[in-house]
Subunit: 338 residues, 2 copies
DNA sequence: CTGAAAGCGCTTACAG
DNA sequence: CTGAAAGCGCTTACAG
């Protein structure tokens, strides 16, 4: 952080060249760490740069070099800790490889998503990692590919077309959760939370699969959609308890929904686990210390982010290769809620 | 999102100029929305741009224009929903005014913070919003000012020196929480969680103030530090219960810590609120639907983010004005935990 | 191993 | 109201 002293006119490579008595190409080369320059010369250049308080101008470098070391990531719901964990994993992996990440939050708003994507394009992003908002057009990956920008779609698949993707096996995961509840003796199990869309459909499918496996009938009155927020899930579980008193367990759309369910249960003096079972999905960090600790499906969110970064980096390396996918294999982690 | 068709060589203003039969200066002007250009001409230019699938190159514009419309924000702990909410508020306000935000996460790591700050500098950020990591040097604001980059420090004050700041009144907030507990009849109240540092010290001060107000003795064995995570707070409350059985209430460093406390209580079959009181701090969205709902000190996190943006924007407008501060006035919100 | 030259895509005085 | 020209700070062939 040591800045000698704020120069009036910021120093450029030309100033360094003058100071070090070399040409500016030489300066540029040593700044890039090229080994074309003799060590002694390089040392002199670096010293001059230091002395002048030189700051590398990445903008100029990118303009000329055509390269760009920035990656845009767009997140649809940062309020959900799952996405925050994905983001942290992604970012860690990316900055370790010298990229700088450029984040934007869409709040599940399609128009906003279009805007931020456009901005990233104008900034010449080297790649984009996207958690698409609900209702994104299936053609979005092709559109971005047409822009010539490498893309990885995260978490929420977009119908049709091929594109790089990092997410989890939703159907299998929820099947695991359902099977677990059935194994514990539950017979009337609700599916709670989430809004219809690609993830929701896959997870409900897992729920149906789990039920069928045990020869239990699927009753669509037992799937209760809601916004995937604590508040809405909390209210929805209240409905279930009132309307379907024979339900003894719920597999939840995700951990946030499950947390809402825990709150609704607690309010009624019900103990999650013994009085009513609830299963989450994601295994967000918080789920290990909720009240009570949440039984859930682990998809290792921050690892998922790292894999997404990996996939994107691979695509940047090889723009035309076949599409790559990372699907986290879900694992059941049993704690006390179910 | 309608891109006509991917051009081989991306179109530049020069191509547009040729297509529209004007000079490139004219194109530049209409792209900037200048009213120096006749409407008819402007329309022709825009049409040509559209036709050629033109994409504005912000990098080039910033290099030449010296302006930069990007703001860097560095967050120390995204895993804490408080910061996520602050970030969302900040980002919303910023993109509404045409800035693009550039996020980096430091994981409370000083070295990483230095790195990302440096990167933002090299990218020519128009401003920086910083939640400093614990242990940041007090001189950091001056350093960044010497770089010529407008700065707003968020949440965690840095000792000494003047700089723009957006945060909350920590001492007053915790005093409110403590007073509330005292009013409810508690006499042995612990302070739980957090690591020594500027925020911690201020909050413990509020705890002492609240105690003194009621003529209760401050007992330093009743302040239990911990990492501000659910897990550590959970474990720490276990310690308290074992070592100080006469403690009947805890004012927590923040909501995350309080959530950990709720988990520890629940595990022991204790009901937060009636068996043991816990007060949070922040009023994170989740606190309204925890189990049980958390009584806490509201500092309106996302509003805090918006105000931070405001302060930064004002500083960008007026680089040399006196320093600005936003201190959220804390309000007690009583739910069930205390 | 190093230098001279061209140019990335834009903006901004300066003329007219 | 529009055009010709210079230049932002860098990188990259091309020579030597």
């Amino acid at each position: 952080m040591a800045s000698s002293n704020a120069p009036k006119r910021p120093a450029t490579i030309l100033d360094i060249a003058a100071e070090a008595k070399v040409s500016k190409s030489t300066v540029s080369l040593v700044l890039q760490g090229s080994d074309l320059i003799r060590d002694e010369t390089a040392a002199r250049v670096l010293e001059a740069a230091q002395k002048l308080g030189y700051v590398y101008n990445r903008g100029a470098a990118e303009l000329r070099g055509k390269s760009s070391k920035t990656i845009g990531v767009v997140i649809n719901d940062l309020m959900n800790p799952f996405f925050a964990e994905v983001l942290v994993g992604l970012e860690r992996r990316l900055v370790d490889t010298g990229y700088t990440v450029f984040m934007a939050h869409t709040s599940e708003n399609l128009e906003r998503q279009d805007r931020v994507l456009q901005t990233m394009r104008e900034h010449g992003a080297a790649g984009i990692a996207l958690c698409p908002v609900l209702g994104s057009p299936a053609s979005l990956p092709q559109t971005i590919r047409a822009w010539g920008i490498p893309l990885v779609v995260m978490v929420r698949p977009l119908g049709g077309g091929t594109y790089d993707f990092a997410g989890s096996d939703d159907t299998e995961g929820v099947k695991l959760a359902t099977r677990h509840l059935v194994g514990a003796g539950h017979r009337r199990i609700a599916f709670l939370g989430g809004r219809p869309g690609p993830i929701f459909d896959r997870r409900v499918q897992g729920y149906r699969d789990g039920l069928r496996e045990a020869a239990l009938a699927f009753d669509k009155r037992l799937v209760f959609a809601s916004n995937p927020t604590r508040k809405d899930a909390y209210e929805r579980l209240g409905d279930i308890l009132a309307v379907e008193p024979r339900v003894t367990a719920a597999v939840c759309y995700n951990d946030v929904v499950a947390f809402g369910a825990l709150a609704a249960l607690g309010e009624r003096g019900l103990r999650a686990g013994s009085d009513f079972a609830v299963m989450g999905f994601d295994n967000v960090l918080d789920s290990a210390h909720s009240n009570p600790p949440l039984s859930t499906i682990d998809v290792r969110p921050s690892e998922l982010g790292e894999h997404a970064a990996q996939v994107l980096l691979a695509r940047i390396e090889d723009p035309s290769g076949p599409s790559r996918h990372y699907l986290a294999e879900p694992c059941l982690v049993q704690r006390v809620s179910g």
